[in-house]
Symmetry: C2
Subunit: 216 residues, 2 copies
């Protein structure tokens, strides 16, 4: 609501969704308040980190009471922009695109709305995934403009992703959730969030082998 | 080969797969050597960061020559453990599990081998994804032991994931690539690499709304 919360570090921002997830679970279990100590034990971070992080947003806790779960959940949701309309499209309707469309949690827990999937494959065009249609990629420009879509998940192969990302931005997309294993170079006012799956798997592999060796 | 490279920071480890990916692209384009300056421009990190990072592993560069792409690619691959057998299973053969099995890059670029997918759904059991069978989850214990599998991708719903993770570890799994939106609490010698999709989408959303506002 017009608060000027501009200078929050990206490390804090990265932790907010995790707070939001934990608070959502507490809410679902009808827990109405929680101390920073209890929250810290569940989340496995220090209580002082929690207090510090949440103090960035005006400090929702009260001495001796702890945090009001409902209130904190709502406020963090607002900070994340989840109180706004977050309509999105998915570019590429293969398994990964369909998995994202099927992922109930985005929709039911966080209010994202997948408006359409797009693909070039005639076998996919026309099918529905959880009630959402796969449309011809040729219709994408007009769809983005007509529905004022700002968020696109990009699940195309890496050789097609950079060119498609450029076009998406020309058509009005402001945030790209990039699953293609390639870095996108886009204008500064566009946000890219990468999910580089192979890199995450390699980090896992390093840690497995390193632990095994140090255990010898 | 028995080097004692134990005290490398996790920040460096997180960057290694990205170096590996870039070097793979150079290799595919038949580029045999590259200066840290050129590499830094492509990767959009500083040349001094690259030199520092790679010095952790004995410094592969030569003054005035730069890096031998092939050699550096091979060495980083070894550090990541990609020269070893990395057989894996995928637990959950829904869209996401199938997307992972289909993802060519793991296999062709990095040598991971998906040995089987597992599911409880009789409609999925028996089908093949890229030549890999979906097996009944009841066969999983004996499969893991028979094939000495160490890596499992976990794509089950969050209410089933923690219990399944525990069992996987009992059966010998050392690394869990966790896609369930829940934190797993496992013994210390087990590595968990989380891909929390909803959290990455929320970070994207925060950045979109924040940039829009500061642009007003």
């Amino acid at each position: 609501m017009g608060n000027s919360e501009k200078s929050i570090s990206s490390a804090v921002i990265k932790r907010l969704p995790r707070y939001f997830r934990y608070l959502g679970v507490l809410k679902a279990n009808n827990i109405t308040r929680i101390s920073s100590k209890e929250l810290s034990e569940q989340m496995m971070v220090t209580a002082s980190q929690i207090r510090q992080d949440l103090n960035n947003f005006g400090g929702f806790g009260q001495q001796g009471y702890g945090y009001n779960v409902d209130n904190l959940y709502t406020e963090i949701g607002k900070i994340l922009g989840l109180d706004k309309r977050n309509d999105m499209i998915i570019v590429g309707a293969g398994n990964l695109g369909q998995a994202l469309a099927n992922y109930q949690s985005f929709n039911e827990d966080y209010g994202y709305k997948v408006m359409a999937l797009f693909d070039v494959n005639p076998k996919l065009i026309g099918i529905s995934v959880r009630g959402v249609k796969v449309l011809d990629i040729d219709e994408m420009e007009s769809f983005i403009k007509a529905h004022d879509i700002k968020i696109a998940a990009l699940t195309l192969p890496k050789d097609q992703a950079p060119e498609m990302a450029k076009r998406l931005v020309e058509w009005g997309i402001k945030g790209i959730w990039n699953f293609a294993p390639i870095d996108l170079h886009l204008p500064e006012d566009v946000t890219v969030e990468n999910v580089h799956l192979a890199e995450s798997l390699m980090t896992l592999t390093y840690n497995i082998h390193n632990r095994e060796e140090s255990g010898d």
